[in-house]
Structures are given as C-alpha cells and as structure tokens.
Amino acid sequence: MNYPVWDIPASGLLIAFIAIVHVFVSHFAVGGGLYLVLTERRARRGKDVPLLAFVRGLSRFFILLTLVFGAITGVGIWFTIGLVHPAATSSLINTFVWGWAIEWTFFVTEIAAAMVYYYGWDRLPARTHMAVGWIYVASAWLSLVVINGILTYMLTPGAWITTRSFWDGMLNDTYWPALVARTFVAIGLAGLYAIWIAAWLQDPDLKARIARDAAWRWVLPMAVAIPLSLVWYLGAAARAGVPVAEIFGARDAGVPALVSAVFGGALTTGYPVAQRAAWWVVVTAGALITLTLVLVLRRSRNYGRPIAAALMLLGFVAMGGSEWVREDLRKPWVLGQYMFVNAVRVPPPDGAPVPPAEFIARFGADRFSVDAINAAGILKTSAWVRPVPDDLLSPADYPSRAEHQGRELFRTACAACHTIDGYLAIRPLVRGKSPEALTGVIAKLASPVDAAGAATAWSTAHLQLKTWRSRRMPPFVGTGEERQLLAAYLALLGGATPSSLAASSPPSDAGRTYYEANCAACHGPEGLAPFDHDGRKPAEFYEMIGRLPAINEMMPAFEGSDAQRKALSEYLASLPRPAPKGGAK
C-alpha cells in the first residue's frame, strides 16, 4: 500500500520459482565446496589420479553452476522480493543491512576463493590449493549462517517484536534448527551432485567408488539427519507461536500427528497448499532414499544419466517442497507478527521503540498499520490506488464505481496471494455469493487473539491470529464502506449482475443480516453445503446454534447476542427448502 503493487498474476509464484531454483544450487555451493576439498584431500593422500581428475572436472562444473547461476539467481531473489514485496524488503533492509553487509564480506571471499581454487589447479602448490578450498568452504558456510538468521527471523521474529534489536531478530527461536537442517541439506545435495556428475564417467570402477562414497557418506546419513533436524525445527516453530498444528490440520505439532494429518487427512481445513507440499516432500524424499539405495547396492558401476537425473529431480522436489512448507508456515505474515503479506503492519506493542517526535513531524504517524488503515481506509491511504473516474461519481453509477474501487481494493489488499482465475483463484471461491455474505466473510478473515485464544488488540506482543476456517489469511483492513465495495466487486466476479448490486441494500431483518454475514458463504445456494431446514422449528435451531462446532467441527461457534440467536433461528426456519439434492441439515 505504501508502494505500488506489481500488477502481475501470482507474483508469489514468481518468488517461489526463483527461490527454489536458487536454493537448490546455493546449498550445493555450500556442501559442494566441502565435497571438493575433502575428496581432493583423499585423492592427494592416496595418490589417486583418476579421483583427482574427477574432482577437477567437478570443480569446473561447480563454478559454472554456483558462481554464475547460483550467485545471479541469489541476486534475482533480492530483485524479485523488492518488486513483489517492496515494503517488506525495505523493512528487512532497514533491520538487517549490517547482516547483509557482513554476509557480503563472506560472499566476496567465497567468490574469489572459488575462482582461485578453479584457476589454481595447475598453478598453486597442493597445500595452498587446499587452503584456498577450505577458505571457500568456511566463507560459503558463514554466508549461510548469516542469511539463515534473516530467513528464520521472517518466520519467528522472537524478542525483536518488542526490542527491535538486530541480535534478537537474527538469533531467533528457529535459528539453530534451521541452520543445522540447511547444513545437512547442503551436505546431502553435494552427494547428489557428485552422483550426477559421476554418471558421465566411462570408468566403471571410478564411477562405483564415487557413487558409493557419495551415497554412504553424504546422501544417506543426511536422509536420517535432515528429518530429525526438521522435527526440531517444526517443534521450535510451534513453541515460538507458529500454528503448525492448525496449518496442517493436525491434533498437535508432534510428528505422529503431523504425519497422520498429511497422509490420513487433516482434521480441520488448515492450509491445503502446505499440506500438499508436505506430502510431496515426504513422498519424494522416501523415493530418493530408495533410489539411492538401489543405485548403490545394485547399479553403482553402470548407472546412467536417467537414474542420476531422477535422483536430482527427486532432490529438487523434496527441497522445493520443504521451502514451500516453510513459506506457508509463515502465512499470512510476510514478516512474522510484524507485517502481513499485503504489506499491512501491526502497530508496535508496548515497550517497542517508536518513532520520535521529529520523525513524526517530518513524515507523520504510521499510515500503514492495521488500526490506521481501518480508521482512514485504503482508498485514502495508498497513493497507488487509481482514482475513480469522474463519470462514475453519481449514486446511480454505484455498480460501476464498486467494480472500479473494488478492483483497486482487491489489487491492494488481496492480489499478493490471489489471482482471479489462476493460482489461489478467487472466482471459484466467490461464485454465486451475495455481497452481504461476502461482506460477512471478509470481516472475519482474521482477528487478533492472545496465547489463550482471547480477543486482544493488534498491538499485543506475540499475538496469535484467529482465522476464518483456519485459512491463513490476513485481516481485511479498511473502512466498512470499503469492505462492501470489495464484496461487491467479488460478487460481480462470482456472477452477480450489476443490477442486483444496485438493488442490494443491507437487509432490515436481524436474522437475515446475521445469516448473510456469517452463514451464507458456506450455506448459501452456491455454497459448500446449501442450507436445508428439514422442517425444523425455531426452537430446535436455537438449541443447535449453541453447539455448532459439535454438529460439524468445520463450523465456528456462534458469537452473536441472544437476540441475534433468536432472530437467526426464526429466519432459518422461514427459509424455503431447496430442491432435493442433499445439503447441510
């Protein structure tokens, strides 16, 4: 909102694509360096000329892949997040510029060491060459050490929320498990890449030696170590307040419950994208281990490129899936407990440093916090919202104006995740819904609660989110009128006619009002479970409304007043019965 929204569909997918490709190479850049120097040392000590030649060939592949593709796609992630999430990137840079500057010193050393290592094969004495290799290994890993802090901060900012301290942000709750996991991943990937390069070798003995070494010493130990570190990571994230269990639709954040949810079906809706990604991670990792074992036990002398390519593909999917899960754990935040994916901030909690008076005098109070936007509205806060054309200003033009302003609101508040018809498409979700029903859902997307689940203020430190049907959505921020405009736009997307929009007005009946705002999204004629009263009387509905989650755990508890409960009961009993095709009862 503070910055323009890059108007492309599924911008998040663009980040995911570049990021996953990059991490698959950048982790190899860390582990591969270690593989090079250790294998070089072994070859030199054993005067193993073929193995030394293999390492030398691998080093050429290594610099071509990591220095060019790895380094440039790393810059590419930076470019992309700056385009897709400029506000978050700005906040990250403000907080961690010295982290990146420190990482840059390792990056410079790493790049120079890789170059000298490669160009030094025929020129440097063996001892110096090995020393340069170790400098590479150290600087590449230290680069990961720093970046890991920034990445984990984005999920679990910890005490930074109240202190705004560099070290509190960097050394956060998931820092160590993530660092260990990434280091193991880097080591495992080095083995996979070695198997891949060895597939080109003609000498079956050398191929078998390299494949067995890579499998038994690099890939398979990590196949045990990585899951253990990920369990540690998920536990740390859950303890830090990340709703791991809710996202996976599991009983708790323990491994059995999570595995059960991923493979046996989620207990609650949770976040299906994360659940599917986790399924792929487990399945492809299992296939990777199996295939590696088959290769090393049965085909190490004569395996070809297809099997090596399959291993690489499985490794890529497993790693990409893991990164996808990590990103989904963070939803709906882009910076945990600080900024939502649509660049709206929560106000600073008590005790957090706030801008001094001279800053406020020069720039004004923060215009992009939840509370500030709720008070002023998106349309009057963001400079990047396209103004309403003059010919749409009259009351008679409400449908066209609603479409225009609703589209702007959607672009500003929703398009960070949703497309119209593509990835996370909104149209199927709003098809056939009335503006009233959509207004009701929009109002309930997310609200702040404390650790005990009680409603609290947005400025609460370490707040949790109560989200609509466990969907990890940010709250809608803006005025009541803007909520209606967005709902009207969504209703139009869902098939409502402009004339129905013009005729729509807030229902006068209290029962219908409550129904439209709270029930119709699921129980309307086009909903997941169209309502059928089945001849029940108001008194029966009154009783049932008091135990909605017990009737179906997907239903939230009734939160209205007693008068609203009575009115809703009357209204439900008065509804006409739908044509007989099943539905909610």
């Binding site: 492309i8 220095l67 470019f79 906040s91 500057a101 060491a113 020129r123």
Partner: protein, 366 residues
C-alpha cells in the same frame, strides 16, 4: 492529498546517514571499475577481435584473447561489488528506488536473465575460444551488447527514481511493470556518457596491461599503451560533448546547482572534467614519451580521481533531484554499532584474504 513518496518504515536507520552514504560511494566506486571494464572492455575486445582476424594485427588478436580470459572474472567482480552498492542505495533511497523498480518491473527483473546470458557467453568464450571460430566474434559482440543493455536498464531505473511524483501517474496508467523511461531527456546522454567513460577506462586498462607485460613482451607493451591511449583519448574527447549534453538535459533547477547555486557541486564537476582530461592527456603522453610506465601510473591515478569526482557529481544530481521532489532523509537513527564493528573487521579480513589468494595465484603464475 496522499503523499506520492512512500512513507519511511517506522524503524530507525541502523547507522548514521553519513556512514551509509560513504559506504555507498565506496562500494559504487569499487563496482564501477570492473563494470566499466566489462562494458567498455567487451566493446574494445570485440573490435580488436574483428580487426585481429587479419594476420598482420597479432597484437589485436592477443588483446581480444586477453579480454576473453579476463571477462568472467570481471563480470564476477562487477556483480559481487555491485550488490553492496545496491544494498546501501536501498537503505538510503529505497522509497524512491522500489517504486520506480515496480513501474518497470519486468525490465528490472530482466537484468537477472541478461546477466546469466552474458556471463555464460563470457565463460563459453573463455573456455572454447579457439574452437568457436567465427562464432567467437558473434559471442564477443553479444557480451558487449547485453552489457550495454543491462546498463541501459539500470539507467532507466536510476533516472526514473529521481521523479517520484511522476511515478503515481505512470503506475495509474499501467501497473504491469512494462514501462521504461525512454522519454526522459537525460536518459540517452547519460547512457552515452557512461558507455564512453567505460571505453576510456578500458583504454586505460589496456595500457596498464601493456605496462605490466613490458618485461616479457616489449613490443606488445608499446603497442598496448598506444592502443589504450588512443581509445582513452578519443572516448574522453567525445565524452566532453556527451557530458555537456547530459548537463544541458538536466531539469532546470538541478542544472542551476552546477551553474552557481552550489559552489561545491561546481567545484567537484570542474575537478572531474579537469582530472579526466588530464588523465587521458597523460596516457597520450605515455604513448609518445620515454617513460611510459610512469605516465601510465600517473594517468591511472588521475583518471581514477576524475572518476571519483564524476561519481560525486552523479550523487549530487540524485540528491538534488530527490530533494526538489520533496524527498526527505530519515531523521531517526539508532546505530547498530556491534554489527557495524563486526562488518568493519570482516571487511578488512575479507580484503586481506582475497589479496593473499590472488597474490598466491599471481606469484605461482609468474
């Protein structure tokens, strides 16, 4: 009225602005040298490759070969040093930079693809120069063209971000990230000035390479100093007109800073012109004089000082343009001295380590 310039984050600036500015200038200067050698060097190298195909110009063939061998390392240095400059730019000017980048989103992102393309082309040339035949010439021109295109995309962002008030209207017209700043009267003279400057610096580098090889290959050394002096002198001479064109194209209020309103800005600009012309003159002297090594050294120092002055002038244009648009510096500073000190110590360590490694390689080679 909603302010067009994005509001600063409600976070303190993590260092005094002067320190961030100094690091921006330092890292940009360090980036500028290899970047000039990539941009100008690829042009000089491609021309030398075409001309060197005639059998009577072995030095030009040798120069083309040297450029090809150095290009991957130069691209790597350009990128590595460039990220630091971009980092400090974003801390200080992110509010203008990000908005501009979004308006030209796809173009800005294309830099990544173009970089990968030119980088691999440079490696292909370096590894397979002999076997590529005529394709080597094509690849050499491809590297030069893509480097020039990347520079133009950067120039678009760096000029568009200076007009934050225009960005709102631009975005309202089209938010897909497909716009460029081609109608800005400063864009092309600025780009021309940069490309000619890069050729001049590359001419200097050719002369330096000649001096470095004078003990092993005196004939090549003499030729390289003359050849480099020719490029440097010619490019600098033409660049005077390109620079004046750029100056004249600046918005009136910015131009007036260099016409009497800001004596420091005038002094820095004049010093830059004087130093670059002197540097180029010294290089021409090296080509004709008896002690070329001394003259080349003096020319290098003078030209580098000139580049620093030009860099400061460029910074003045940016600062003044943004101030005139209402851009204000963040006035809430809470320095992170611990991480700053660690960065300083590690920077020294990194420089020492890189110097040790490159010295080890260079010594082993000799």
């Amino acid at each position: 009225m909603i302010p067009a310039i994005p509001q600063p984050d409600p976070l303190a600036l993590p260092a005094p602005a002067w320190l961030l500015w100094a690091l921006l200038m330092l890292t940009f200067f360090l980036h500028l040298i290899p970047m000039n050698l990539v941009l100008g060097g690829s042009i000089v190298g491609a021309i030398a490759r075409v001309r060197g195909r005639r059998g009577d110009r072995p030095q030009e063939a040798e120069l083309a070969h040297l450029v090809v061998k150095a290009m991957p390392i130069l691209i790597s240095a350009t990128v590595t040093l460039g990220v630091a400059a971009l980092l400090f730019l974003q801390v200080l000017y992110g509010r203008a930079f990000f908005a501009s980048a979004v308006v030209m989103g796809w173009w800005w992102l294309s830099v990544i693809g173009l970089l990968i393309l030119t980088y691999y082309a440079a490696y292909l040339l370096a590894f397979r120069e002999a076997s590529l035949g005529a394709a080597a010439t094509l690849l050499a021109w491809l590297v030069a063209a893509v480097a020039g295109l990347i520079a133009l995309v950067y120039g678009n962002n760096m000029t568009m971000m200076l007009k934050p008030l225009e960005l709102v209207a631009r975005y309202a017209a089209d938010g897909r990230g497909v716009q460029l700043n081609l109608l800005d009267p400063t864009l092309f003279p600025r780009h021309l000035h940069m490309v000619l400057g890069a050729i001049a610096v590359s001419g200097l580098a050719v002369a330096v390479a000649g001096v470095a090889r004078r003990k092993h290959d005196a004939a090549f050394a003499l030729w390289a100093v003359r050849y480099g002096a020719f490029y440097c002198g010619l490019a600098t001479s033409v660049n005077i007109f390109a620079g004046l064109w750029w100056l004249a194209a600046l918005p009136r209020d910015v131009l007036l800073q260099f016409m009497g309103r800001d004596l420091t800005a005038i002094g820095v600009l004049l010093a830059g012109i004087l130093l670059t012309m002197t540097g180029a003159g010294l290089l021409v002297l090296a080509a004709t004089g008896r002690r070329p090594a001394l003259a080349v050294t003096a020319s290098t120092l003078t030209l580098m000082a000139g580049v620093v002055m030009m860099l400061l002038t460029r910074d003045t244009v940016r600062r003044v343009s943004l101030e005139l648009a209402g851009f204000q510096a963040v006035n809430w500073v809470a320095p992170q001295w611990g991480p700053i000190a660690i960065f300083g110590a590690l920077l020294v360590g990194a420089v020492a380590t890189v110097l040790w490694m490159t010295r080890a390689l260079a010594t082993a080679r000799s």
